[in-house]
Amino acid sequence: MTTTVQARGVARSFHSKTSDVTALDGVDLDVDECEVFGVLGPNGAGKTTLIRILSTLLLPTSGHATILGFDVAKEVDKIRPIINMASGAERAGYEFISARGNLWFFSQLYGASKEDFEARVKSLSSRLELEKYIDKKVYELSTGYRQRMTIARAFINDPRVVFMDEPTIALDVMTARKIREFLVGEAKESKRTIFLATHNMAETEAICDRVAIIDRGRILVCETPENLKRIYGRPAHVVEIRPSPPSMSIFTSLPGIKGATSTLDEERGVATVKLVVEDEDAINRVNMALSNAGIRVLSSWRQEPTLEEVFVSLVGRGFAEREHEIAS
């Protein structure tokens, strides 16, 4: 299997008058063709920065990375014809031109001939179920069909490597599913590498062959989703409690608790706390701590490990708590 994306010690810092930020802190990875490779982490973990470096938008501060053996810093002319990119946050497209016109325009940036373009757009619009809307102007398209057009654009030049930054964010379930099916199909049938940055764990589990979990600019672990759950995942003990505790340290200070994450239903005043536990004794300690604090347990149950528990057990906090820390 050919290695298409490789990174060794890739680091990136941003300096401003008020602060220095290390967005990536020595990233190593290898990604093969036919692979859907996920980079999973909370907002601010460094996913987008990594994609920007690999797609030649940004230079690394140190380390080096290659796409099909070409250096991202020095050989951009060789890389750009064979890659493409799409983001869920973009509104890329000229509003007064049809979707087909937009796709044609972007195909010309890769020098596509008329015949190649016609073949590509027919295939892509069929697979993304865009045919009925392909000749409508972009401003007439709903969010879902705009995103399908964006995804089609990312494949218009028949790229070897495609970078996807949260491509299904803010999409309805059906459209998101359609796009995921498409991405898997493109990877396996067309031997492409799909490099997917996301914080959607369900999406990662559903389509990624391997997942790199990233936090604070570092890859913590890189494995198949099943192996991640098997090796790092712990069952979660979930409790619904009232009132919400003032801080999570009531749990994380207890022996046997690897990490905790919580959500709050403000209307009911009920907190749902997910605890990654080492053993059954830890659950007893939790119940004792809650009782001592005067917090009532409304219900509790056991949950089989998901990638969220893997993250919590590696980092000690959930995505939400980590994003809050990064933001502050």
Partner: protein
């Protein structure tokens, strides 16, 4: 083979970017009406002002100024700030990660902009001349040549500005307003800014002469309203040709330098989330 591939890519990029601009305008004919407002009404106001001075023969200057204002407005608002808009919606980064040369994108934007502005400019001419018919005796070949070179240098300036505005981001829009009117004044859109009849001191005229629009307006007035032969405008034409080439070169260099700086500092992609 590689040169042929590069030229093909350059041409295809340029053509498609021009097509997008033209298609956007002609696909929505209301754009013509929108783009017509400022040049038409400004030139009519200035023509009326000339009429009120007791010398309406200069009203033609105002109409010509309106025609060029249509193109100059297009340069400022559809070229200079275009890349900032592209950056906001995520198109700019697609240009960057593609193999397409940015110079081809810029030239395509220019050509498309010129073609898209022609209807507005034509309407200003027709309506203006209807209300303020002014005697003219031009050599149309000279007028066309002057017009083409003026546009070439103007749009080359637009390419340079689009590169520079990338460095300023959203502040560029406010700068555009200031720069636009200041250049209208200095370049003498409606009156001679250089040479005989200019109200400006010599030093100001020298500075004004560095602006392509100044030279272009002066040459166009000579070509349309005066003797109209090449001998009266050859120096202006040569100057415009040189300006166009220099500005093109500078624009390309500025963009490459900004791209490299942007890749290093991480400022190439800024998007509102």
């Amino acid at each position: 083979m590689k040169l042929r591939l590069n030229l093909t890519l350059w041409y295809r990029t340029m053509y498609s970017r021009a097509w997008v601009r033209v298609r956007s305008t002609y696909g929505e004919p209301l754009w013509v009406a929108v783009n017509l407002a400022v040049p038409l009404l400004s030139s009519l106001a200035m023509a009326l002002l000339y009429s009120s001075t007791g010398l309406s023969k200069f009203a033609g200057f105002a109409i010509l100024g309106g025609v060029m204002l249509a193109f100059w407005g297009n340069v400022l608002w559809s070229m200079a700030s275009q890349f900032n808009w592209d950056k906001e919606v995520g198109i700019f980064e697609i240009y960057l990660i593609s193999p397409a040369p940015i110079s081809a994108v810029l030239v395509g934007m220019s050509l498309g902009g010129i073609l898209a502005t022609v209807p507005s400019a034509a309407l200003v001419t027709i309506i203006g001349w209807f209300f303020f018919p002014t005697p003219i005796n031009p050599s149309w070949t000279v007028v066309l040549l002057t017009f083409v070179l003026t546009l070439a240098s103007l749009y080359a300036l637009g390419m340079l500005l689009s590169s520079l505005y990338l460095a300023y981001g959203r502040e560029a829009e406010s700068l555009n307003n200031a720069i636009g009117e200041a250049i209208n004044l200095l370049s003498g859109l409606y009156f001679p800014a250089i040479g005989a009849g200019s109200p400006f001191p010599f030093a100001v005229q020298i500075v004004a002469s560095l602006i392509p629009l100044t030279i272009g307006m002066d040459a166009l007035r000579k070509a349309v309203f005066q003797t109209g032969n090449v001998s009266s405008v050859w120096f202006d034409l040569a100057l415009l040709a040189v300006m166009a080439m220099v500005l093109l070169f500078l624009g390309d260099k500025a963009l490459k330098a900004l791209e490299e700086r942007g890749r290093r500092q991480g400022t190439l992609v800024v998007r509102l989330k």
